[in-house]
């Protein structure tokens, strides 16, 4: 009897001690894990050495001026028609430049604070350029070899595809690098060094556009290419290098049409003008079937992956808020896209199919376009 009581007591004591040990041990593991995640990461090792080839040779008579306002442009991908290798070929580095840029993501990147501090170091740049980093800023210098890499890919390995909630890199950083290299090139007394900086700016932009997943990164990349090309044009004109100035001028002329064409493509698939809110507050989509067909066409066979992704997300809205027939059609297409061999398209379609957006998302669904001019209310 007494030995039985003693045994029970010992088990009770051991159980009580075990509760403390388990709680404390688990807490320790969680603290270490959290500290590791939030501590500044060790700097990514310098990228593998790379070389940047010279721009391709070309005959001026081979150049063509693309007509972005002509009807055939409707079938074009929104990309430079002019071969940018004539101005600034990409480097041949084997690293993924995104592995460096991801650390500056706002605000959870392991080096976000460094990027933010760099923004505080900016000084006034040349007229029209804005604030720039000092020419010898350590972060600016650290970034340079990463622009000599051949690839920059964030999705879906670094940032998973989560529809409207998909994370984007800290685009302020490459934008400011580009402006800073531009300013440094403009101030350089050595034309060769100036040209290196302008070409680096274009490579930065090309890397940003390379992946073709998010429209916002593409637009920042386009802006980088435009300012870098402007630098080359100005320098080539100054040097009397008309051949180089000519190709730069043609490329420069392609920048604004691409923004407009991008806006038009985005408008074509945007369902915001068709959102109706009843007096009871119910939100629905009153879409013509033709509009749904247009969205389906872009999502399934558009020439640009970023616009395909946008159209796929719009299909997600159709799938939940449009008429029964349109919902069924959207679901069929989303299922088809969710079996795509392209992982970003596949993940985006699966997200759009499985995630019911809130009415707020529907009301302001496209952050890149202003609200439609005449929002209407159904009685």
């Amino acid at each position: 009897m007494s030995s039985g009581t003693g045994r029970v007591k010992s088990l009770q004591v051991v159980a009580a001690a075990a509760v403390i040990i388990v709680l404390a041990g688990l807490l320790g593991v969680r603290i270490v894990d959290w500290a590791r995640a939030s501590a500044p990461a060790a700097k990514v090792a310098a990228p593998p050495s790379a070389t940047v080839p010279e721009p391709h040779a070309f005959a001026p008579e081979s150049l063509q001026v693309p007509c972005w306002s002509c009807p055939e442009s409707k079938e074009w991908a929104v990309r430079f028609r002019t071969d940018l290798d004539l101005l600034a070929p990409l480097g041949n580095g084997s690293a993924n430049a995104a592995t460096w840029f991801k650390d500056f993501a706002k605000p959870n990147g392991s080096r976000w604070a460094e990027g933010k501090a760099a923004m505080q170091r900016r000084v006034k740049g040349p007229e029209g350029v804005g604030d720039v980093l000092p020419p010898d800023d350590p972060l600016l210098l650290e970034a340079e070899p990463w622009c000599d890499q051949a690839t920059m890919r964030f999705y879906p390995d670094i940032y998973p595809m989560k529809g409207w909630e998909t994370q984007i890199p800290n685009l302020m950083l490459p934008l400011n690098f580009a402006r800073s290299w531009l300013a440094r090139g403009m101030a350089a007394s050595d034309p060769a060094k100036a040209m290196d900086d302008f070409r680096r700016v274009i490579r930065m932009g090309r890397l940003l556009r390379q992946e073709d997943v998010t429209i916002i990164a593409d637009l920042v990349g386009l802006a980088c290419i435009r300012v870098g090309t402007q630098g080359i044009y100005d320098l080539a004109s100054k040097q009397g290098n008309t051949k180089l100035a000519l190709v730069a001028a043609i490329a420069l002329g392609e920048a604004a049409p691409q923004r407009l064409m991008g806006a038009q493509r985005l408008t074509e698939t945007d369902v915001a003008p068709y959102v109706r809110t009843s007096a009871a507050g119910d939100v629905s989509l009153e879409l013509p079937d033709k509009k749904v067909d247009e969205i389906v066409a872009v999502a399934t066979s558009g020439p640009d992956r970023r616009f395909r992704g946008e159209a796929t997300l719009e299909l997600g809205l159709v799938r939940f808020f449009a008429t029964t027939a349109q919902r069924a059609k959207a679901l069929t297409v989303l299922n088809q896209l969710a079996a795509s061999s392209d992982r970003t398209i596949r993940d985006t379609a699966a997200w759009a199919r499985d995630t019911k957006p809130s009415a707020e998302v529907l009301a302001g669904n496209n952050p890149l376009l202003p609200p439609p001019p005449q929002p209407s209310k159904a009685p």
């Binding site: 403390i20 009807p71 605000p107 909630e165 994370q167 984007i168 038009q264 952050p367 890149l368 001019p373």
Partner: protein
């Protein structure tokens, strides 16, 4: 017969056990009382289990640990909440980036502005358009 009975009584009288010592009863009873009032011997487990300071320490430790767990959960979720900058967030974010990222809303039916093709398309459109639908088409 009477002699026999007298001898038996005498014999029996000699066999009577002696009286216990007068203090024995008292000493036995006091010993029993003492044994009853004395606490049973406790082993180490029981002492630990029944220790009030140890129980208090255990309770405080559990409360502190649970609070710490709640704290670390909140820290992690706060960093997760703040951890994603999206294209949507840019609209309310840095004006410089938003200026680059925002696009105008364009009417998909806007006509090209150059070349003979423009006039052909405009004429073609106007020829199939009902009279009431005439009007300028432009970017909205």
């Amino acid at each position: 017969m009477s002699e026999e009975s007298g001898s038996v009584e005498k014999l029996l009288a000699t066999l009577q056990p002696p009286e216990p010592a007068p203090a024995l009863q008292e000493s036995v009873l006091s010993g029993a009382r003492a044994a009853l009032t004395r606490q049973a011997a406790r082993d180490a487990w029981t002492r630990v289990w029944e220790s009030r300071p140890l129980r208090l320490t255990w309770a405080v430790s559990v409360v502190v640990l649970v609070i710490c767990h709640a704290g670390i959960t909140e820290l992690r979720s706060a960093s997760a909440r703040a951890g994603t900058q999206t294209a949507r967030a840019v609209r309310e974010g840095n004006g410089e980036l938003a200026a680059i990222a925002r696009l105008p809303r364009l009417d998909g039916n806007v006509q090209p502005l150059v070349g003979v093709e423009t006039y052909r398309l405009v004429e073609e459109r106007q020829s199939i358009r009902p009279p009431t639908a005439k009007g300028k088409e432009s970017a909205s």
